[in-house]
């Protein structure tokens, strides 16, 4: 027995972690690469919106509403290539057709300069800057205007507002997903871990089981008892407040009915605290809640909740409220799939092996079960973001999401709708925000697809 029993040497492998392998697989996916690239451009555009846009977000030219894209000239009158320049544009009503017409006056050429000093702004909200991509003296003096993609109903530059709007539209997806993820993962994990394991809610002070419970480890049990007493006491107090309110405001028959009902509830609480052992199945509660949420039509719920947002609050506040609403409506789906994942993983042998090694429940959960859901979460998040972007666009489109003077793609697109069908014929540039929504959604879906393939644990190595 002195012989060393060695395993076959397989040649020590270069260790590549799972995520390194996934990255290699992701890069092999052409559409995912494309999607990722486009998204990178869009997000960078949103970050540097101030730099890209020649005008500040809310700068409006009342006499140039619905101005078509300013033509940028590359050749002079003789047909020779020159620096790009624009002409001054005037709006006049055609007295024969009564239509507004925009006429160029090219007597004076206004050359477009790049990387110029423009109107000052604060980069990232606190760094003072004034560098802008395009412009010139004439732009600041308003001798001529540069509307690459035309203007909207207030005469605001659409090109700039699309990038400002990208900030809202693209980040709302991430914020809302993050929040929904937080709620969904928390609820789903609770539900998954406690599936089939009812939680003891109240142990019953006069229940024989209580004495045994306290004798096992007195201090924590006493603490637990106090906690539950406080909780149940609070509930009883709430019922009592409601009851006395009813008592004060109603007379006669209702008072009697609610009195009897309320006293009944109070007695039931007292009974529950004193005698029986109450166990609740967290899984059932959470899952039924998600089902109730899922049973109400999403759009209806969204609209109802959005109406509750008070008017006249600052746009930033409104942004956060919209995020909250979106994630509240959508956490259920994430919670359900999370629960499924947890249920599957908690039966894995390595979870049991970790327990057999002496790891506590919380350690098994956080170190051995949750990491197993990461790949799945990354994919479902990428695929959930476009849904939120669409939902925000929809809300803003019907005027319940982001509101003027802030900008978002859905809000910008609603300008096209507000002017009726003429938008398609007379002002097609108002549809450009829709194109951006379309591209962003498509890119997210491509990238999510690629990520799903890359992170699939069953993928060939």
């Amino acid at each position: 027995m002195t012989r060393k029993i060695e395993a076959r040497s397989q040649g020590a492998l270069q260790s590549r972690s799972f995520f390194q392998e996934a990255w290699i697989r992701f890069r092999r996916h052409p559409l995912a690469r494309l999607g990722g690239g486009v998204l990178l451009v869009l997000y960078l555009g949103a970050l540097f919106a101030d730099f890209l846009a020649p005008y500040p977000e809310t700068k409006s030219f009342r006499d140039l509403t619905f101005s078509p894209p300013t033509p940028v000239h590359w050749r002079d009158e003789n047909g020779r290539l020159t620096r790009p320049y624009v002409c001054a544009v005037e709006r006049k009503r055609n007295l024969e057709t009564f239509k507004l017409e925009f006429t160029q006056n090219c007597a004076q050429k206004y050359t477009i300069y790049f990387f110029v000093q423009g109107e000052p702004y604060r980069f990232l909200g606190f760094i003072p800057a004034n560098l802008r991509l395009m412009g010139g003296e004439w732009l600041q003096n308003e001798q001529a205007h540069l509307f690459l993609w035309g203007t909207d109903d207030f005469g605001r530059d659409l090109w700039g507002r699309i990038w400002y709007g990208a900030r809202v539209s693209l980040t709302i997806g991430i914020f809302a997903t993050a929040l929904a993820l937080l709620i969904g993962v928390f609820m789903g994990s609770l539900s998954g871990f406690f599936a089939g394991k009812p939680l003891t809610l109240s142990i019953g002070l006069f229940n024989p089981a209580y004495r045994e419970f306290v004798s096992r480890n007195p201090l924590p049990s006493l603490f637990k008892t106090l906690l539950w007493l406080a909780l149940w006491g609070g509930l009883a107090w709430l019922v009592w407040v409601m009851l006395s309110g009813f008592w004060a405001t109603t007379r006669g028959f209702e008072a009697v009915v609610f009195g009897v009902l309320g006293v009944g509830i109070l007695l039931a609480i007292a009974y529950a605290v004193l005698f029986p052992l109450i166990k609740i199945d967290l899984d059932t509660i959470i899952m039924r809640t998600t089902e109730i949420l899922a049973a109400i039509p999403d759009l209806f719920l969204l609209i109802t909740l959005s109406v509750l947002i008070p008017q006249g609050i600052p746009p930033a506040m409104r942004f956060y409220l919209v995020v909250c609403i979106l994630s509240f409506v959508n956490w259920g789906g994430l919670a359900r799939v999370m629960r499924g994942q947890i249920l599957q993983l908690r039966e894995m042998e390595y979870a049991q092996a970790a327990q057999a090694m002496g790891a506590s429940d919380s350690r098994v959960i956080t170190r051995h079960i949750l990491p197993g859901t990461f790949t799945f979460l990354i994919v479902s998040v990428t695929l959930a973001i476009p849904g939120f972007i669409l939902a925000e666009s929809g809300l803003s489109f019907i005027g319940l999401g982001i509101q003027e003077p802030a900008s978002s793609w859905g809000l910008l697109l609603s300008k096209a709708q507000a002017q009726g069908i003429t938008a398609f014929v007379d002002r097609p540039w108002l549809l450009i925000p829709g194109l951006f929504i379309f591209i962003a959604i498509l890119s997210f879906n491509f990238m999510g697809d690629g990520l799903r393939d890359a992170l699939d644990p069953r993928a060939k190595r």
């Binding site: 395993a7 260790s15 972690s17 480890n217 042998e349 049991q352 002496g358 790891a359 506590s360």
Partner: protein, 342 residues
């Protein structure tokens, strides 16, 4: 408890309360393990071997399962005797991994795919010995070397998917032994491996046991493995121990019809051609645990069944001399019957 005893299980009862009724997965099992000894628990699937091992670790999924009775006296590393049934969860956690470690059947799934093997071995060490991560990894490398994995330091940063089944089982063993447990529970550790690797793993365990001096509780249905590894054998059937003896007595002088049946259903190459017989399978199946037959649970499949004696009362475990215990009312008659035949 006797000084050399490590674990003494007395009348252990584990019941599962299912919607269809109470499943008595383990119903009054008693055995003991001495220091440095290997005890094999043998039986068909569903006989309660794995539940017994999980009960010792107190890892019975609750609900539906619960230990409803019995004692499990265990001598910890500190020399104190504790009843494992009565320990609370916190002190059980200190025992798990530190005093009693476990190896599972499936090396493919019992390692977490998202961590390197080094991390996983180190986790146990950090958990029980309060060592820093660096020290723990150092120790892990030593453990990998001990279980015969070449280039252990490089292997620390490997992920489980980069290893073969045999290597993973070695890692599992390294993990289990990293805290020097006094009892190692091996739940069919070689079932999922191919034969050559099986032999290597068994040899490795044998060697490590000699070096470290731990006891092993070996759960298996492979009688070849039992003959190789065990000092004593407990044969289980339908939640009860039906025979307990040392390994030679089990193989040479088995007294319970079920053990004989098990032995006869193993193909043998060591007999001369004229002595070879057809393989004798035990007819029938393991009984439904919800409706165990009255009396001896084995009687519907037993060829020595006698109406009125076997199917009335559950037979007692009788000592037939020299610690050879048998749970059969007719063992003496069967014994003389067999002698006459021979």
């Amino acid at each position: 408890m006797d000084e050399k005893r490590l674990l003494e299980v007395k009348d252990l009862k584990v019941h599962f309360f299912t919607d269809d009724g109470v499943v008595k997965a383990v119903d009054g099992v008693s055995f003991h393990i001495d220091k440095g000894e290997t005890l094999a628990v043998v039986g068909e699937s569903g006989s309660g071997k794995s539940v017994t091992s999980l009960a010792i670790m107190r890892l019975i999924p609750n609900p539906p399962g619960r230990i409803v009775g019995g004692e499990m006296l265990f001598r910890g590393k500190d020399g104190q005797v504790k009843d494992l049934v009565k320990q609370d969860e916190a002190s059980m956690r200190k025992i798990r991994g530190n005093d009693i470690a476990m190896i599972f059947q499936e090396p493919m799934t019992s390692l977490n795919p998202v961590y390197t093997v080094g991390d996983q071995i180190a986790e146990a060490i950090m958990l029980h010995q309060g060592k820093s991560r660096k020290e723990a990894l150092e120790l892990s490398a030593e453990m990998l070397d001990l279980v015969g994995i070449p280039e252990p330091r490089k292997r620390l940063s490997n992920y489980p998917h980069q290893m073969s089944g045999g290597m993973r089982q070695r890692v599992m063993i390294a993990m289990a032994l990293s805290c020097n447990p006094s009892l190692l529970i091996a739940d069919e550790p070689t079932t999922a491996l191919d034969v050559t690797i099986q032999a290597q793993i068994l040899e490795l365990m044998y060697k490590l046991q000699e070096e470290i001096g731990m006891s092993i509780l070996f759960i298996t249905h492979n009688l070849g493995v039992v003959a190789e590894m065990a000092d004593r054998v407990v044969v289980m059937y339908a939640g009860r121990a039906v025979e307990e003896a040392d390994v030679t007595a089990t193989f040479k002088r088995s007294k319970h019809p079920y053990t004989m049946g098990l032995l006869n259903s193993v193909p043998r190459l060591d007999l001369a051609a004229e002595h070879r017989q057809r393989l004798e399978a035990i007819p029938g199946n393991v009984p439904n645990p919800l409706h165990l037959p009255a009396g001896c649970a084995f009687h519907p499949r037993c060829k020595y069944f006698q109406e009125g004696r076997c199917n009335t009362d559950i037979p007692e475990l009788q000592d037939t001399g020299g610690g050879h215990m048998v749970r059969c009312v007719r063992w003496a008659e069967i014994q003389s019957e067999l002698e006459v035949k021979a």
